[in-house]
């Protein structure tokens, strides 16, 4: 009995400390009661000697609770938080598509204006890339989701790394909720997109800019770089402002009363 209790308490260490402080004694008492009370007295005694580990189902429930609490999926206002994340994520995914499009729209005329003297294939490359960014990504996203060919994605990464990463974010938004429970996967995909893809996409986009500048050379290269940086600064500013306004405060510790929300 003692060892079963001790092992259950060890298991409960997975839970966040504040949660444990509030609920551990109660959980232990209830757990031990479920272990003993459903059996006749003498059999309970016997079972307890034979069994010193919590059942797999109980372990799974505590592990799930710990993971859920730490990820913000379980707990007060979890569904609100998930909705907020979903909104923020869709916004980021949309901007992820719009930024390359805006980039292409502004860079194409600028390149044409400033590169009258550079070889034709460079202009074709720039215009072509711009148009592909605008037109091909939604189509490619649909195709990739439909046929699920990793090779296609590989080609896209080689061809346009930032675009591919934006696309990955979009695909995560479409595919992950379909694979399993929405409320579990959507916050996860949001974390993934915001925390991982965002910075990587920014770095790669910067590298693309530098490569293009180097390829074009001279005034054209500088024009490309400056314009590209301006567009990206605007985009990053927009994303930042929206993120601060909409998402930032969700994790500031203020948890509103659900009543307020329901009546708001």
């Amino acid at each position: 009995m003692i060892s079963l209790e001790r092992r259950y308490r060890v298991l409960l260490r997975l839970l966040p400390p504040s949660y444990r402080q509030a609920w551990e004694p109660d959980m232990v008492a209830t757990f031990l009661e479920t272990e003993t009370a459903r059996l006749p007295d003498e059999q309970a005694e016997l079972e307890m000697y034979g069994r010193s580990f919590p059942s797999m189902a109980e372990i799974v429930s505590v592990v799930g609770l710990a993971a859920g609490l730490r990820l913000g999926i379980i707990g007060p206002h979890a569904s609100l938080r998930a909705t907020a994340w979903r909104t923020a994520f869709r916004l980021v995914a949309l901007i992820g598509l719009l930024v390359p499009a805006a980039f292409a729209v502004t860079v194409v005329p600028a390149t044409v204006l400033t590169t009258a003297r550079i070889p034709r294939e460079h202009i074709v490359l720039t215009v072509g890339t711009g148009l592909c960014w605008m037109l091909a990504m939604p189509v490619a996203a649909a195709v990739l989701v439909a046929v699920n060919v990793p090779g296609l994605f590989g080609v896209l990464i080689w061809w346009n790394p930032p675009g591919a990463l934006c696309l990955a974010a979009v695909i995560a938004a479409i595919v992950l909720p379909v694979l399993g429970r929405r409320e579990v996967l959507e916050p996860l995909s949001c974390w993934l997109a915001v925390a991982v893809l965002g910075p990587i996409a920014a770095v790669l986009q910067g590298l693309t800019l530098l490569t293009m500048m180097w390829t074009l050379g001279g005034t054209a290269g500088w024009g490309y770089l400056i314009l590209g940086m301006l567009v990206q600064a605007c985009a990053a500013g927009t994303v930042g402002v929206i993120a601060v306004l909409r998402v930032g405060r969700l994790f500031g510790g203020s948890t509103p009363d659900r009543l307020e929300i329901a009546t708001a």
């Binding site: 209830t30 609490l69 979890a78 609100l80 948890t255």
Partner: protein
Amino acid sequence: MPGLADILPADILAGMALPVTEPAFFTLAALVGAPRHGYGILGEVEELSEGRVRMKVGTLYGVLDRLVTEGLVERDREELHQGRLRRYYRLTPEGSRTLTAEVARQTANARAATRRLELHHRNVLGGAT
């Protein structure tokens, strides 16, 4: 300090379902009429759901934490039982209202689906004869 309600667009808030999951629903239902302790809730939920919902301890305390924080359930008395403290929980008036609203919603859903099924069966039967 602005809350979620200020940040989320109104249309999203309006479209959100009441977050009453099945374990939360049965936990609220188990507390109707009498305060119960953790183990008591588990037993009552199993009985209420006719053995269909068997909550684990980890699940129950995830649900209880949420319900207490949201003010739907509150702590009642504490009792000593075989050397251990038993903490009782009871439904708050707000919890009672939430459960009533959820029951009304589920009843309306069930009624709508039943009507559809009846109509369908009648049409299928009518077509066959």
